[in-house]
């Protein structure tokens, strides 16, 4: 048994299998991130979504549920992000004096790292994790400890933190997040970032739901024990 999701794609309603929905979200978000740096990006995405809608309607006519197979068939016709990447790479090189991109042979070189606040790993506003990313430290804990130390010993006041929140921009899209970590920005790294984010959201979502489930269970078990004549735990 699978969940289904109702979506609006290109102005048309579709009922999509849960797995197909995740794949479709990742696919469209990857393309969005990829094209977001091009002019006319909204129009391109509109055209692509409209065409995807057409393809899916052909694959599952009537009230059919779109399965992962329908989606894969549609993506095969439209092209995978890798197919886009091969051509679009050249397109970008000629249209922009690119500051953050070189050819695919840079292999892990740190290019143009920029300071951002990290919204995916924040206690307050992501300032410390942004700084940690900028210096290449995986764990923002040390930055937070140093920051607290400086604040409590009076070396640096909270105002400095607030100023940083105001002037350091938040990493909004995948391209920003990659620049924050100093990683090369190309279709492969963007796809990976989008996928990681999506899986992160899904994991956090399922954690909370199962937490609530087990809490309810414990309360119920505590109050109603089959071997006692009346509910226990409050007045009894």
């Amino acid at each position: 048994m699978n969940k289904i999701v109702n979506i609006n794609l290109g102005g048309f309603p579709f009922t999509v299998d849960e797995d197909a929905y995740s794949s479709l979200s990742i696919y469209l978000d990857t393309l969005k991130s990829h094209f977001s740096q091009s002019p006319g990006y909204e129009e391109i995405m509109y055209d692509i979504e409209a065409r995807m809608a057409e393809l899916l309607q052909e694959g599952a006519p009537g009230q059919g549920i779109i399965s992962s197979k329908n989606l894969d068939d549609a993506i095969k016709i439209m092209g995978t992000p890798e197919d886009f990447g091969a051509i679009a790479q050249d397109y970008k090189e000629e249209t922009f004096s690119s500051s953050s991109q070189s050819s695919s042979t840079d292999g892990g070189k740190r290019i143009n790292k920029r300071l951002f606040r990290d919204p995916d790993d924040k206690v307050i506003s992501g300032v410390c994790s942004g700084l940690a990313a900028y210096f290449g430290w995986k764990d923002p804990l040390w930055v937070r400890l140093i920051a607290l130390l400086l604040i409590f010993t009076g070396g640096v006041s909270v105002i400095v933190y607030l100023i940083l929140v105001l002037i350091v921009p938040q990493a909004k899209n995948s391209a920003d997040k990659l620049a924050m970590k100093g990683e090369p920005i190309n279709i492969d790294t963007i796809a990976k970032t989008v996928k990681d984010e999506f899986n992160g959201i899904v994991e956090r979502g399922t954690e909370t739901i199962s937490d609530i489930g087990s809490k309810k269970k414990k309360i119920a078990q505590g109050l109603f024990r089959y071997d006692q004549p009346y509910p226990r735990g409050f007045l009894f």
């Binding site: 290109g10 102005g11 048309f12 393309l31 094209f35 091009s38 002019p39 006319g40 129009e43 391109i44 055209d47 692509i48 409209a50 065409r51 809608a53 057409e54 309607q57 052909e58 016709i77 439209m78 092209g79 995978t80 197919d83 886009f84 091969a86 051509i87 679009a88 790479q89 050249d90 397109y91 050819s103 695919s104 042979t105």
Partner: protein, 112 residues
């Protein structure tokens, strides 16, 4: 990987030429343009066409009409503009020059 890059560059310039040429004969929507290209053995996926069409439209070499469709959302039918036709002619001239040049230089290789 350099080979892939070079190949991609070659195909990209040619793709523009073919697209402008196809839409100069009759107005078409992207999916049919792909079909026509396939007939001439130039295989591209639909996704690479959309940004290209968008770019050509923004450069006013192409224009489009909306047409309602029974099969789904309304479609954009692209056709080449006046400026597009001139552009196409220049591209064709260059193509003929290059074609000649390639034939000449590769011929000298094989006869050696």
């Amino acid at each position: 990987m350099k080979l892939e890059n070079t190949k991609a560059q070659m195909r990209k310039g040619i793709l523009e030429l073919c697209v402008l040429s196809i839409t100069s004969k009759e107005e078409m929507y992207p999916s049919d343009i792909i079909k026509k290209l396939k007939e001439s053995k130039l295989i591209v996926v639909e996704g690479t066409l959309y940004p290209l069409l968008n770019r050509l439209k923004n450069s006013e070499l192409l224009t489009y009409n909306w047409k309602e469709s029974n099969a789904g959302p309304p479609r954009k039918y692209y056709s080449t503009t006046e400026a597009g036709l001139n552009f196409l002619k220049s591209l064709l001239d260059t193509w003929n020059e290059l074609n000649h040049a390639v034939n000449e230089s590769t011929q000298t290789i094989t006869t050696k």
